[in-house]
């Protein structure tokens, strides 16, 4: 199926493109916190488009009744949607707790009480 192949390739290549853009973001952005935004492009649209492209490749098998591969790909997407923000949040929270500065000076504290304590 040439049409499916074209759709699949467009998805795969654009997914790879977004992964590269995310990588460029990690290099170009100025500090730790902004760099996480670059990484999240790779995690969401980059990985998502690639999984969609792979999913289109499995459609002929799906027609033959072999739906297992597609279900696996969708499971990967679902797990990514849960694990990616978890790890991203763990990273910035650790940096925040250790007082990593951002390019505009100190990170503001969330509640005023803590400022008084320190």
């Amino acid at each position: 199926m040439i049409v499916l192949d074209i759709i699949s390739w467009v998805l795969l290549v654009s997914g790879g493109l977004f992964c590269i853009i995310g990588g460029i973001g990690i290099i170009r952005l100025p500090d730790f916190y902004t760099r996480t935004h670059g990484a999240s492009i790779t995690d969401t649209l980059g990985a998502g488009l690639m999984l969609a492209g792979l999913g289109v490749q499995t459609l002929p098998h799906f027609m033959d009744g072999d739906w297992l591969i597609l279900v696996k790909l969708m499971a990967i997407a679902a797990f990514l949607l849960i694990t990616s923000p978890t790890s991203g949040h763990a990273l910035v929270k650790a940096a925040y707790a250790r007082g990593v500065r951002w390019n505009q000076g100190d990170v503001p504290l969330l509640n005023k009480k803590k400022e008084g304590e320190e």
Binding site: Y33, T36, T44, G88, H89, V107, P108
Partner: protein
Amino acid sequence: MPRALVVFAVLLSTWLLWSGVYEPLTIGLGVASCAFVAWFTTRLEPGPQPKTDMGFWFRLLLYVPWLLKEIVIANLQVARVICSPSMPISPQMLRVPCGPKTPLGQTLYANSITLTPGTITLDLRDDTVLVHALSKGSSQGEMDRRCRHVEGQS
């Protein structure tokens, strides 16, 4: 211990269902790894069990497509910013009031913010989320409203 057995049974049935290869080695590896994970979970605290009803899952199902749409839009915005030679960013830390009140709703809200490129949640305390944003104008109002709806408020 019964909980570990349930975990083992669920994991092994998932393994058998998804692997599709039924040879002694594969099944043996499956049994071993499922047993290890089941043993591992006995060392973890169960944690609080949030109360959910069918309505919650239904509303969550309706929320996900909207969130995916927002993620795609935010992706394109951040990608354009990164690729432009001048890279017009104005990073800022924002204290945003957190509308959802239940732990599940707050988790959903904070994770939605983090999953959207350009914004990331640093901390959640006293019904306020600390958000780092790549640039101005990334409004959380609509997301807040929708998360409260999924949670069951209003």
